[in-house]
């Protein structure tokens, strides 16, 4: 049975919206017109609406993470282009890793390389998720 997790990452969504909003605000600030109050408010409203729409698109294309897994393997897609698919039996060790920002990831080791599953970003309980991944890796190893 396949499981999919793709929660909205509010921090990254807010960041995307703010990037678009600041870009528009800079354009408005350097434009030498619009001294009327009504025009200013209208521009602000238009900026906010555009920021939300384009920010959402930016978030989806850069940050939105979709994690799908079953008993055989998993796929982690970040944004529109960054897609990684692996089989559980490609990995030998599992650990729980804390990043500098304090987020927890489940780290999978393959020889000297490793691949991180961002448990905190996926809003999964890192401790139970680590247990589940460890089980999946060991079961798939035993199948070989």
């Amino acid at each position: 049975m396949s499981h999919t997790y793709s929660p909205i990452q509010m921090y990254n969504l807010f960041k995307s919206v703010m990037i678009i909003f600041v870009l528009q605000a800079v354009v408005v600030l350097i434009a030498p017109f619009f001294s009327e109050q009504i025009v200013r408010v209208s521009i602000l409203i238009v900026n906010v609406v555009i920021s939300v729409l384009l920010g959402w698109r930016l978030y989806k294309s850069l940050y939105h993470t979709v994690f799908t897994y079953d008993n055989e393997g998993f796929t982690l897609k970040k944004g529109r282009k960054d897609v990684n698919s692996f089989k559980w039996n490609e990995f030998s060790k599992v650990s729980l890793f804390r990043t500098e920002s304090g987020e927890l990831s489940v780290r999978l080791y393959r020889d000297s390389e490793h691949f991180d599953l961002p448990a905190s970003k996926l809003k999964l309980n890192p401790f139970t998720f680590r247990q589940e991944v460890t089980k999946l890796v060991s079961v798939s190893k035993n199948k070989e």
């Binding site: 060790k93 599992v94 650990s95 729980l96 890793f97 804390r98 460890t134």
Partner: protein
Amino acid sequence: MLGKGRWIADFTESFRNWNVNDVTFDVFIQGNTRMKGFLLSRLFSATVNPNYQVGCYIISADRAKDIDRKSLLKMLHAVKASMKENEMKWAWLLILCAKAADFQKKLVESIKDQAVGIALVEVDSKGIVSSDSYIGKQARRFIKL
């Protein structure tokens, strides 16, 4: 992880059932001695703390119930091998048990290795016996039961 403790290192990665040389530790955590934090903490840590890789190996009562000199030395050698592999400077070996025999306590106290601090923790009585080294004695300070 639940309970109390003191800051001894910035541990970033933990493994369950860590196997080295036929010894399986219930938990192995690794990190370094540089404190993370905001500007002042980082500055303080960069000027005061050495940047050493450190680890903590924990073995629980079930696996540690038959501790004798041979098994303790086997654990110590496994820790040393793992330290070498992970380029660690210091490590702690915590042995958790319900109740330890007197000869086991004396055994732990007789270990003088300066790179590995060993602590035998009696969970029921909350007693801690450590090896005869600086970091072994430090373990008594940071373990809070």
